[in-house]
Symmetry: C2
Subunit: 418 residues, 2 copies
């Protein structure tokens, strides 16, 4: 069977399974997740053994330490996967929840009820834990899922798929509700992106190159974000201490993630006081600064920023810094260079806080808090399957609700239209 045929068969089976999963009770879905969770712990040895094959191959191929780190499934990673599933069990089931109900003048009662989307295709890089996370969330939201992790994680994902499917079978749920594509060949991704008859949504997670490839080759709707060029604007009314803590946190706490700050905008009225203090802290943390001319005047150690710096998602201990003469200039800079991901203001002015919240177009806009809070868990969604920076269907972190849609239900007593 060709790669295309294999993927096609998988997708058709998923579509069939989706019709079963969409009406499962919450109890049944939780029972399956609980079984997967227990099996992960019980089969830890087997999982690590298969993972070792991937790791050996990765070392042979000379993959970077960071990649090997993400690929590694240790006991701690297994425990974290198992606990992650228990967290998902604890989350409310979005399916069947009524988002609104009202009565029409003719007596019709009209409501909107959450229903699953159908079949979701997840495409991600070589992080085996993503296989369990994604399967757990998709199943809880009543969807079937087709999983395609990086080919470097092929053996790890294959054993995880076996565990998931055994748990599904024991719970009486079709195994095709969660499938890992059993083909290493990268053509499998193209084949998956062509199944627009049976797959309802594609969610890619990974670097910009992966996401661009998926977006450009998919005939199925894609929810994604390309990159996070996140700004903090320190207003002239900002408390300097608060601005310092927030800026430090947003840049340093975990620089390699999409909600880390990449550009700091500072109002000229506070630029000197704030930047001198901030520069010391950033220097201690090893942050390289690339500044506009005014910034470089205040901080002689800063490099001159180029236009590329304003567009950069460094994902590293590097920060672009710009002194602005007004809030207008800050908002314009964000409109031009921002990626609609996460934007924050530090201010003590009521009107400016309101204006920033209203005028800045980003999936998450914050006042007096770190950009690092753009995360499904941190914002209270319970868990997150990704972040969307496109506006259709979901904008911002996507939790269980974003893996559903609503249908209208109408309760009548014989009403006809006149």
């Amino acid at each position: 069977m060709s790669v295309e045929e294999t993927v096609r068969e998988l997708a058709v089976a998923a579509q069939k399974a989706a019709k079963v999963v969409c009406v499962l009770s919450t109890d049944k879905k939780n029972e399956a997740l609980e079984r997967i969770s227990r099996k992960l712990i019980a089969e830890a040895q087997q999982i690590k053994q298969e993972n070792e094959k991937d790791l050996a191959y990765a070392r042979e191929q000379g993959l970077s330490d960071a990649m090997i780190d993400r690929l590694t499934v240790s006991d701690a990673v297994i425990e974290s996967m198992a606990n992650g599933l228990r967290d998902v069990i604890g989350l409310p089931d979005p399916v069947g929840s009524v988002t609104g109900m009202w009565l029409r003048p003719n007596g019709l009662q009209v409501g909107r009820v959450r229903i699953p989307l159908g079949v979701i295709g997840m495409i991600y890089e070589a992080r085996p834990n993503a296989t369990i996370d994604a399967a757990g969330l998709c199943l809880k939201a009543g969807n079937a899922v087709i999983l395609r992790g990086g080919s470097e994680a092929f053996n790890s994902n294959t054993v995880l798929a076996r565990i998931i499917q055994e748990a599904l079978r024991e719970t009486g749920i079709p195994e095709a509700a969660a499938q890992v594509i059993p083909v290493r060949d990268r053509l499998a991704v193209n084949a998956l992106l062509a199944q627009d008859d049976s797959v309802d949504l594609i969610i890619p997670r990974g670097g910009e190159a992966l996401i661009r490839f998926v977006t450009e080759n998919s005939r199925i709707p894609v929810l994604k974000h390309y990159k996070g060029v996140c700004h903090i604007y320190v207003d002239e009314t900002a408390g300097i201490g608060m601005a310092e803590e927030i800026s430090y946190n947003a840049k340093v706490q975990r620089p390699g993630v999409c909600n880390a700050m990449e550009t700091l905008l500072v109002h000229e009225a506070v630029a000197e006081a704030f930047l001198l203090q901030m520069a010391r802290r950033f220097a201690e943390a090893g942050v390289e600064l690339r500044g506009c001319p005014k910034t470089c005047q205040i901080i002689p150690e800063a490099k001159q920023a180029t236009d590329e710096d304003w567009q950069a998602e460094y994902l590293d201990l590097i920060l672009a810094v710009k002194v602005v003469s007004s809030m207008d200039e800050a908002i314009e800079h964000i409109a031009e260079y921002g990626s609609a991901h996460t934007e924050a203001i530090v201010t003590s002015d009521y009107g400016r806080a309101r204006r920033f919240l209203r005028e800045v177009d980003a999936s998450v806009v914050l006042v007096n808090a770190s950009t690092r809070f753009n995360d499904g868990g941190e914002l209270g969604l319970g868990a997150e399957i990704g972040i969307s920076t496109s506006k259709l269907h979901a904008y911002g972190p996507m939790g269980l609700e974003e893996l559903t849609t609503t249908k209208f239900v109408v309760f009548g007593d014989g009403q006809v239209r006149t």
Copy 2:
């Protein structure tokens, strides 16, 4: 300037205008709609004169009476457009409404706020009133809109565009917030579908061919429905009188629309009593019946249905009829042949009503009411810009809310992530 360049310029201007329109107050938007409404009445003569050019051309081209009817802008049509805008003025502004707000354990207050989508491209057939309807709804929801009606309505749409833009200018809103593509050439549609840098959403309205063309050629997300193959299932527990009224209404009241019934499914226990009575009423209304073998036994005048009949969207006084031996069979038939548009059951049984609502996958599922109620106005959305039968973003009738998305807003007091 080439067609592509013209459309490209329009789209870029729309994107710029969208950044202004998205933060306009409700009062300002309503003022613009009110001005358009008044100008329509004041310039009725001019509108009809331009429309007459289109009509003369349409007659020359030998367009069907139905098409010429839809193309005609009479005084009544002008009044209805003006009143339609007043209705939109009366609807609540979705922008800025908070769909939820909660407090996190660390004191962060997190909310979701409705915001406009950006730039919407509307592609429709030769119905000039759609130009006003679509412009009104898109503007009220804070979006810029690019309108492309059928080329047969070119002169009518051009004069309507002038009126809209005059009203915008007088209100102090950029004219590019609502533009009609000033090119008759059909290549303009292809050009519009390629503006994925500046246009956020395409909504096509019209026949299946138009919608397929748009879907297959668009690089921009499309919200649409292909067709409405709507069923009514008359359960064995149905009140025969109610089933008769609902079935008659769903087929006869307006057969040419997407929410009219196309297939009637009848439980065998009530088939004879119900169908004999129903056949008389349908015969009086001139409805042609195409039945399964059992139907043809009961109603000898019925033609034999073929597999094509179960898939047909007749949009006419033709009805496919099938006798089923169980509710399971009805639900399976709908799953196989339905178009996820509108499905109804007539029953007096509580459990069956619940099961139908839960298991049937359609944008609107009704109990004891006519399929004709799948309509934004009828369901209480106030107005409708289309019906979506795809699940992403919107499923079912799309009103003002569906022309928006939500962003997260976060109110902090200096919170950082640990």
